[in-house]
């Protein structure tokens, strides 16, 4: 599974044509984000020119972003919501995945069908009911009101990814623990879980990114900056007046929310690749 395995025996020598292709692909992957960074340093008249490099680079847009209370609140909300969602998705996802992977479970097929069908669910289908229910329960426009549905929709991802990680742990460990008189639950918490930490970290990153990215739930279930998350804040970003579209500031805000994610993805890239592909294409 490790992408850094010895070079494939089918490897051919890469000629100039393929090199050109490789370079084009890399440029196409990177240029759009560069363009966003470029735009974020442009101010005033610079914002109407397609210069490859900002003529008078300025950090004014970034200062404006941090002066914008809505954006700062959204950053906090996104962090709270995504951390809580990830934590509970890992907790409930890990136990469910372990039961699915290793324990004698009744109606396994039905449970898997339910989990799979949640992944095909359009979030819009529950928008109106959630809005009504949350309004009645006082959860509308609250962070808790976002965490609950986000958790539900990231659980399938957590369950599927973790199930394939648990399958890779040798069964001998459980057998040994069982002979030593450990209960299945204790075996899970004390023996299996510590061994599954790499899988849990990987799953955690995938769930965090999914939760951070998701837009429709906060767009439906929040109404004020108190509970709005980053994607909503960016999508509804307005300047001094409501009709002024502050391209520079939006670009700066977009760059700001992308950088931490980018750093995380680069640090954990091998895990993310293995997590994205785990189980999906084995055998």
């Amino acid at each position: 599974m490790s992408p850094r395995r010895p070079l494939s025996p089918t490897a051919t020598r890469v000629g100039p044509l393929l090199w050109t292709l490789i370079i084009v692909i890399m440029i196409v992957s990177l240029i759009p984000f560069y363009w966003l960074i470029n735009t974020s340093f442009k101010v005033g008249g610079g914002l109407s020119s397609a210069a490859l490099w900002p003529e008078n680079p300025s950090v004014q847009n970034y200062i404006d972003v941090f002066r914008n209370a809505k954006f700062v609140l959204a950053l906090r909300n996104s962090l709270v919501v995504s951390v809580a969602t990830t934590f509970f998705a890992l907790l409930f996802g890990a136990t469910a995945a372990y039961a699915l992977a290793r324990l004698p479970l009744k109606r396994r097929g039905m449970i898997l069908t339910l989990v799979l069908s949640v992944t095909t669910f359009p979030v819009i289908a529950i928008a109106a009911p959630m809005f009504n229910l949350w309004s009645q329960l006082g959860l509308y426009n609250t962070l808790l009101g976002l965490i609950i549905p986000k958790l539900t929709f990231t659980l399938p991802l957590a369950i599927f990814t973790l199930t394939s990680f648990f399958r890779e742990i040798p069964t001998e460990l459980e057998e040994a623990a069982s002979i030593d008189g450990s209960s299945p639950a204790r075996t899970f918490w004390q023996v299996i879980l510590p061994l599954a930490v790499p899988g849990i970290v990987t799953t955690g990153i995938l769930v965090f990114i999914a939760s951070w990215n998701e837009f429709l739930l906060p767009a439906t279930l929040t109404s004020t900056p108190d509970a709005q998350t980053i994607p909503v804040a960016i999508a509804f970003f307005t300047g001094a007046s409501e009709f002024d579209i502050p391209t520079g500031t939006i670009s700066a805000a977009s760059v700001l929310v992308t950088i931490p994610l980018l750093v995380g993805v680069m640090i954990f890239q091998k895990r993310i690749v293995s997590g994205l592909t785990s189980g999906a294409v084995k055998g």
Partner: protein, 319 residues
């Protein structure tokens, strides 16, 4: 609590080996139940129950403006929706978007995976570059492509202008066709790398024996690709395609940020959202969201029926 009771029970029964193993089984079954219970309860409460409620809402005339006004209207909202131009427009535009972008993503994804599977210096660098679009929020990817096509500060419009090609003076997001192209571009850019990574993982598990055998039989590179590599990649490609297709049919963020659904870039989810949130038509909006739900389900079922045999191998592994 649970584990304590179970272990006490085990201590008590440990003297009798037969009963011991039976109680271990019972304990494991009970643990399994409690382990899946929280996840299943959540999915039942937050996914299954609201769908039922949404169906109920969709059968009522319901207004938020005049609170409490709600009367049963049967299938009227569905009939109205299915008779409306807006629904069929959103439906057609969603499928246009989904078909074109998913086809491009699969083609480009397979191509990039084949490249990444070659031995070359800088392969790791290329893989990192492909992860950049993955790390970017969909909303931000929309803003990025908005900037790329901006009539004044856009890179693409500038290049087209310099080369004297058509499109340089077009306000892309303001014209239908062009606006759809921007939306597809943003989606393909963000998700083709995801397809590439899935397919690459599929490529890397193909045993080298297969290639050696085909080389011994004197197969050309092209033959090897079409008769060996591609069939073996089928499950990975089909899986990537269904995951992308389901996402594309539910598309919401991209048209919302780029155009608010104007200029031929509507989507089923966006139309339902606009009815629900902007027009406050809860009954009509719910009917539209149930129709979106049914459309996605039907596509998923048809896809699984035709490609299911190939996918089953992988899903079984996965599960």
């Amino acid at each position: 609590m649970e584990s304590m009771t179970i272990s006490r029970e085990r201590e008590l029964t440990s003297a009798a080996p037969v009963r011991h193993s039976r109680s271990v089984d019972a304990a494991a079954r009970r643990t399994a139940f409690w382990f899946v219970a929280p996840a299943l309860t959540l999915m039942g409460l937050v996914a299954a129950f609201p769908i039922g409620y949404a169906i109920w809402l969709s059968m009522h005339q319901y207004s938020v403006r005049v609170s409490g006004l709600s009367r049963f209207v049967g299938f009227k909202n569905y009939i109205d929706a299915l008779a409306s131009e807006a629904w069929w427009q959103a439906f057609g535009q969603t499928f246009t978007f989904a078909t074109i972008s998913v086809s491009l993503e699969v083609l480009l994804g397979v191509g990039m995976a084949l490249l990444l599977n070659l031995a070359f210096r800088g392969r790791a660098l290329m893989r990192s570059a492909l992860l950049v679009p993955y790390a970017i929020l969909t909303v931000v990817s929309a803003i990025t492509w908005q900037a790329m096509f901006d009539p004044h500060l856009g890179l693409i419009t500038e290049v087209l202008r310099t080369l004297g090609m058509p499109g340089g003076d077009t306000i892309w997001l303001a014209e239908s066709g062009y606006a759809m192209a921007v939306m597809i571009m943003a989606d393909v850019w963000k998700t083709a790398p995801f397809v590439a990574l899935l397919v690459l993982a599929g490529l890397q598990v193909i045993s080298s024996d297969v290639y050696e055998a085909s080389a011994l039989d004197g197969a050309t590179k092209l033959q090897t690709f079409f008769f060996i590599t591609l069939p073996l990649l089928r499950p990975a490609i089909l899986l990537a395609a269904i995951l992308r297709l389901l996402d594309a049919l539910r598309v919401f963020d991209l048209p919302f940020v780029l155009t608010r659904g104007a200029n031929g870039t509507g989507s089923m989810s966006l139309l339902a959202y606009q009815q629900l949130r902007e027009s406050r038509l809860v009954g009509e909006g719910s009917a539209l969201s149930i129709l979106t739900f049914l459309t996605v389900m039907v596509v998923a079922v048809i896809y699984l029926r035709f490609a299911g045999g190939n996918l089953r191998g992988t899903t079984k592994e996965k599960i």
